[in-house]
Every structure is written in C-alpha cells, then in structure tokens.
C-alpha cells in the first residue's frame, strides 16, 4: 500500500465496493471486465437490490465474478442465460433478474436465446460484455468481432470476405416492440465508465418498473485476445470497435412506459 499523508482528506473513492468479497481476480492485466463488475455491484447496491437480485451468468472470462461478488448467482450453460433468467424471473417476478454474458456467449452461442427473450418482452436485464473475442478460449473471433479487429483467428484482422460481418444485437433488439431499454457503454475512460453506470441504473429501473426487456452492452478491452499491449487496449478499442458499435442509448426508456400497458 502506498504511504500518503491523509490528514484532512475526505475519501471520495474506495478501492472496491463492499459487495466484492475480494479485490483479487485472475483476469489478465488490462482486462476491461472487472470495471464492468464493479459498476454492476455498485448499481445493485444503489438500487437496494442486493438481497433481491439473482445474476445468471454465462461462460467467459467474466464468469469469475460469481466467485467474488456478494450477491446470488446461477452459473448456467454457455449462451443460455436469457432462457434460464426467464425461468427464474417468472418464479420471482419482484426480483431483479439479470444475465452477465460476453459477446461470444450472447452473439455466437446464445443468439437465439437473447433475441427470443427480447421478443417476448421478458422482464429481465441482459448485460453483454463485448470484447469481440472469445477471451476465455484464447481470443478467437466471435459473431461480434468488428471488421478489421485482431483476434487469434486472424491476427491480420477480421475480413468481411472471409468471415462476414459482426451482428449488432443491441441494435436488433432496440427495434423490438417489447423492449424497454437498450444502451451501449464502455469502460475505456472515466466518462464512459460513468455513462455505463447510468445505463445500468436505467436498465434495472426499467425492469423494476415492469417496462419490459432491457439490455446493456459494455465494450471491454481484451488486450490478450487482441494481442495488443495492455496500455494500448483502451485506444485500440476506441479506434477499432467504437465506430461499429457507438456508445449511447439505442433505446431510451419511454416516459410513458410505466403508465401505458405494453400490449397492442
């Protein structure tokens, strides 16, 4: 611990939220996932959901959150989290039920699950940590890898001719009528982090208000999978991913949403 004089100092940021049982994790240097974890548990605490939330977690590097965050988790099969969360939510309709998935988990293996849940207008929140690679299996291309992005599959960068184009799940679901809220954030710089926190807050709020399905994508750095130095991960993401996946609210909450029934 660095030694500094704290006389007269007011603490404005703790190391980590109380809801993390440990500050140690095994993710790589420069990985973007842990910041997303922090935001998630901060928002759960802020909205007083700590003892009435269940996270349904897919398979990827982010899965490690289930070993340190002090909330309940159901680790489920790769790609199936939105279906599992549906079953959980229907039995616990007053709870905040959310998924944590990666781009590989949601856009590759689990594409049907998330789209069907969104079309049903299922009252769950899906969180996608998008680094454009299967980090956990070594950094291969996923169905969300942007054209030109370096992956283990193609260190020269994805080419559309050989591998096609990425699928933009948030954009697709934002157009679904049963969907209450969709946003895309990032954790590459402080204001992106702050916006992402707000998006998560909105998403959970919309779920609690019974407005329908919500989804927040968070762009996260994977310097390992991209084969870039850790300190260039943030910039690489901005240059390579943000143009295809711009940050912002793709579907803001409707002001009337709480009042109006969603049926046609």
């Amino acid at each position: 611990m660095t030694d500094v004089d704290l006389t007269g100092a007011r603490r404005v940021a703790t190391f980590a939220p109380d809801l993390l049982q440990s500050t140690e994790h095994h993710l790589c240097p420069g990985c973007g996932h842990p910041v997303a974890w922090r935001l998630l548990v901060e928002v759960l605490a802020e909205l007083e959901l700590v003892d009435r939330s269940i996270g349904v977690v897919g398979h990827g590097c982010y899965t490690q959150i289930i070993t340190i965050a002090d909330v309940e988790f159901l680790q489920c099969l790769h790609g199936r989290a939105p279906a599992v969360a549906t079953g959980v939510k229907r039995m616990l309709p007053e709870h905040a039920i959310y998924t944590i998935q990666g781009d590989g988990d949601m856009v590759s293996e689990g594409l049907a699950e998330v789209l069907h849940a969104a079309a049903r207008g299922e009252s769950i929140t899906c969180l996608m940590l998008n680094n454009g690679v299967f980090g956990d299996t070594g950094g291969q291309m996923t169905a969300a890898t942007t054209v030109g992005q370096r992956t283990k599959t193609d260190l020269g960068g994805r080419t559309a001719a050989e591998h096609g184009h990425p699928i933009d799940v948030p954009e697709i679901v934002a157009s679904f009528p049963g969907v209450a809220y969709v946003a895309r954030g990032a954790v590459d710089k402080p204001n992106a982090v702050a916006r992402t926190r707000r998006y998560l807050r909105e998403a959970f709020a919309s779920q609690l208000a019974g407005e329908g399905f919500s989804l927040v994508e968070v762009l996260t750095m994977c310097p390992t999978g991209w084969a870039v130095p850790t300190d260039q991960g943030a910039q690489y993401q901005r240059d390579q991913m943000n143009p295809t996946f711009p940050i912002g609210e793709l579907r803001p909450r409707r002001p009337s949403a709480v009042a109006a029934p969603q049926d046609a």
Partner: protein, 85 residues
C-alpha cells in the same frame, strides 16, 4: 502547489496494465520500472493529483483509493460516486 487530492494505491495487486496513466488529466501518474511480487511493473503518484477518481474508475484491479483535501472530512462509504461528465 497545494495538493487538491491524493490516492492510496494497493500496488500488491496492480497488474501493470498502464490504463490509469493516460486518464489522469493532471499527469500525476506514471509507470516506473519497479515491480511488485507478482512481477508487474508499477505506476507511481507524482504531484498534482486532484482527487478526480479517474484512475479508480478505469483500474481493473481495484488499486486506487482516492481522497480530496478540498472539502470537509465527510466520508463516503459504499459505492463510488459519479464522475461529472
């Protein structure tokens, strides 16, 4: 220069990624050649910290605790506060 803020760093868990350095607007952080027990190179705090929390916001390894001198000693607990965009 009077310090407006400072940070406490849990460098034992730092992984040397360097993400904290460019987000520190006053340039109060820089990487060094020092390594921790895990073998990672470490950042160090220079003068000029404003207590803006940017480093804490982006650090993936929960290294930073941030303090400000400019306001009263009321302690913030629990969640980190929002950075004003």
């Amino acid at each position: 220069m009077t310090a407006r803020g400072t940070v406490v760093m849990a460098l034992d868990r730092c992984k040397g990624c360097g993400l904290c350095v460019p987000v520190c607007r006053p340039g109060a952080l820089e990487m060094t050649d020092e390594r921790n027990a895990k073998g990672y190179v470490l950042p160090q705090l220079l003068d000029g910290c404003t207590g803006c929390r940017a480093c804490a916001e982006v650090c993936p390894d929960f290294v930073f605790e941030v303090y400000r001198f400019d306001i009263g000693p009321a302690e913030l607990t629990g969640s980190m506060m929002e950075v004003v965009e």
